[in-house]
C-alpha cells in the first residue's frame, strides 16, 4: 500500500469536508477500500475514518418504512427483527453476502460503494488497460476471461459487473439514498458505464451517504432474495434476484410485483418488463417462466458469461414461484 495519512473524523460535516479534498477518501468498514489499496487500485493520500461517528448506525423500522444509518453494519441490519419481518429480501440479501466477519465490518453505505470484482480491474500491475481505473486506457476484460462479467447494461468501454446483493434488493423496493440533505433513488444513484465507466455514482465531491430509506410496501413484506453461485457460500452471485409480490384478495392474482437482478449487470438492475408482464396475471408456473425471460431483454454476452442469460430468468422465476408457495 502507498503511504497515506489517517484522520479520524469528529463529525459527519468534518468528514464530508475532509473527504472533498483531492486524494482523500472516506474509510468505513474498509472491506473494499483496504482490499483495493493492497491491490494498488485505490491510492488515497488520506483516509478519513468515519467509523467512530455517533448516530449514523441507527436502524429504524415503522409503518412507513425503514431508515438505516449509513454506518449500520450489514450483520446488524440482516439480523434486525423489523427488517426481517418487513423486508425479508433485504435481510436475505445481506446474510447471503460475503462472510459473517465481513458483514460485521462492512457498513450499509460502504456496501453500496463496493467496487466490481472484475479481475482486470483489480490487477493494475498486470492489466494496465481499464477504463474504470484509467479512463481511455481500454478494457482488458473484453476478449479475456469473462465468466463473471455483466450481460446487461454493458458498453464497449466496460463490462464489469456490479457485485453487490443489497443494492439489488434496494432497487426493487424503490429505496432512496440520503446524501445528507439530498435524496436520490438507488436506481438513479448507480450509473451505467457508457463511455465513462470511471463514474459509478451520481454523487458529487463532498457528498457522503448518510442513510438509506426503504418505503414499506406489501411487496417488500412478501419478498425474497435468491442467490445462485458456484459455491454454497462466501461468493459473489452468478445471478441473483430480489423479488417482492402482492396478491389480490383471491391469493392468486398478482396485484404488484418487484423484480431486480444482481450479479448480471453493470448496476443493480430493476427488471420492470417482468413486473409489467405479470401484474394482473394469475400466478402460474409457465406464465412466470415465460415472463421471466423479459428480465434479460437486450442482454449481450462476451462468451464465457453467456450462461448468465440463461440463468438469470430462471432465478427470477424461482423467486416468484417461491413467494407464491408461501401464503
Amino acid at each position: 500500500m502507498k503511504d497515506f495519512s489517517y484522520i479520524r473524523a469528529a463529525t459527519a460535516d468534518a468528514a464530508r469536508q475532509a473527504a472533498a479534498l483531492p486524494g482523500a477518501m472516506l474509510l468505513a468498514g474498509g472491506t473494499t477500500l483496504i482490499d483495493l489499496a493492497k491491490c494498488g487500485v485505490a491510492k488515497p493520500d488520506s483516509l478519513i475514518d468515519i467509523t467512530h461517528l455517533n448516530g449514523l448506525d441507527r436502524i429504524e423500522v415503522d409503518e412507513r418504512g425503514a431508515t438505516i444509518g449509513a454506518l449500520a453494519k450489514m450483520s446488524h441490519v440482516a439480523d434486525h427483527a423489523g427488517i426481517k419481518s418487513q423486508f425479508p429480501a433485504i435481510s436475505e440479501a445481506l446474510w447471503q453476502a460475503a462472510s459473517a466477519q465481513i458483514r460485521n465490518m462492512a457498513t450499509i453505505g460502504g456496501n453500496l460503494m463496493q467496487r466490481t470484482r472484475c479481475p482486470y480491474f483489480r490487477d493494475p500491475a498486470n492489466f494496465p488497460a481499464c477504463n474504470k481505473r484509467n479512463p481511455g486506457s481500454g478494457c482488458s476484460a473484453i476478449g479475456g476471461v469473462t465468466r463473471g462479467h455483466a450481460v446487461l447494461g454493458t458498453s464497449e468501454a466496460c463490462i464489469a459487473t456490479y457485485p453487490g446483493d443489497l443494492a439489488a434488493a434496494l432497487v426493487a423496493f424503490d429505496a432512496m439514498i440520503h446524501l445528507g440533505e439530498r435524496r436520490i433513488s438507488v436506481d438513479a444513484f448507480f450509473l451505467l458505464p457508457g463511455s465513462t465507466p470511471d463514474r459509478e455514482h451520481a454523487m458529487e465531491p463532498g457528498e457522503m451517504i448518510t442513510a438509506i430509506e426503504i418505503p414499506a410496501s406489501a411487496t417488500a413484506r412478501r419478498s425474497t432474495y435468491v442467490k445462485i453461485r458456484d459455491r454454497q457460500s462466501y461468493e459473489f452471485a452468478a445471478a441473483s434476484a430480489a423479488v417482492g409480490i402482492e396478491f389480490e384478495p383471491d391469493g392468486r392474482t398478482i396485484r404488484d410485483l418487484r423484480v431486480a437482478l444482481g450479479g448480471v449487470a453493470t448496476k443493480p438492475w430493476r427488471a420492470r418488463a417482468v413486473e409489467d408482464a405479470l401484474k394482473g396475471k394469475v400466478l402460474e408456473p409457465e406464465a412466470i417462466r415465460a415472463a421471466s425471460l423479459l428480465a434479460v431483454e437486450g442482454a449481450v454476452d462476451h462468451g464465457a458469461n453467456r450462461y448468465k442469460i440463461e440463468l438469470a430468468p430462471r432465478v427470477v422465476a424461482r423467486a416468484i414461484l417461491k413467494l407464491g408457495e408461501t401464503t
Binding site: M1, K2, D3, F4, S5, Y6, R8, L27, G29, G30, T31, I34, D35, A37, K38, C39, L47, D49, T51, H52, S75, D79, A98, S99, A100, Q101, I102, N104, M105, Q232, S233, Y234
Partner: protein, 159 residues
C-alpha cells in the same frame, strides 16, 4: 527517507500497547510483526479466507482489512486472549476433542469465528453452523469436525 508514523494505543487481550505505526499498518501486521502475537494468521491478506479472524468489541472481524489505527479505543481479542486464567475456552477444548483441524493454520481464525458464531445465536443447527462458519476456509478439510465442535460447544453453552 522515512515514513510518518502515528502513535497508536491498542487494547489487546486486556493489555495496553503503545505503538508508533505508519497509518497503513493493518491490525494483522501490527499483531504479528510488532507485537509477536502470531496466533492470528495471514492466509490471503485480502478478506478471502478468514484466517485472521479476531474480535473487536466482541464481534468477529478480519484483521487483514482493519487498520490498526481504526481499533484504537476498542477492545481487541485474539486467540491468545481466549483462554481465561489458563483454562482453555470450551470451543478450544471442543476443537481438540473433535479433531477439528489438521495443519492448524486456519484454526485460530476458526475458533475465534466459532466463539462469535455461538454468541451471535447462529449455531442453532448444523446447516446454520455451516453457513455462518463459511467465512473460514480450511484446506485440510476439517469442516465436518468443525461443525461437530461448534455444535458441541454451543450445546455446552446452552446447558
Amino acid at each position: 527517507m522515512t515514513n510518518t508514523t502515528i502513535s497508536v494505543h491498542l487494547d489487546i487481550n486486556g493489555r495496553h500497547h503503545d505503538l508508533a505505526l505508519e497509518p497503513r499498518v493493518t491490525l494483522l501486521d501490527a499483531l504479528r510483526d510488532r507485537l509477536g502475537l502470531t496466533g492470528t494468521k495471514k492466509g490471503c491478506d485480502h478478506g478471502q479466507c478468514g484466517a485472521c479472524t479476531v474480535h473487536v468489541d466482541g464481534e468477529r472481524v478480519l484483521a487483514c482489512l482493519t487498520l490498526a489505527a481504526q481499533v484504537e479505543g476498542r477492545a481487541v481479542t485474539t486467540i491468545e486472549g481466549l483462554a481465561r486464567e489458563g483454562e482453555t475456552h470450551p470451543v478450544q477444548a471442543a476443537f481438540l476433542e473433535q479433531d477439528a483441524f489438521q495443519c492448524g493454520y486456519c484454526t485460530p481464525g476458526q475458533i475465534m469465528s466459532a466463539v462469535a458464531c455461538i454468541r451471535e445465536g447462529h449455531a442453532g443447527s448444523d446447516e446454520e453452523i455451516r453457513e455462518y462458519m463459511a467465512g473460514n476456509l480450511c484446506r485440510c478439510g476439517a469442516y465436518p469436525h468443525i461443525v461437530s465442535a461448534v455444535r458441541q460447544a454451543a450445546q455446552e453453552a446452552a446447558s
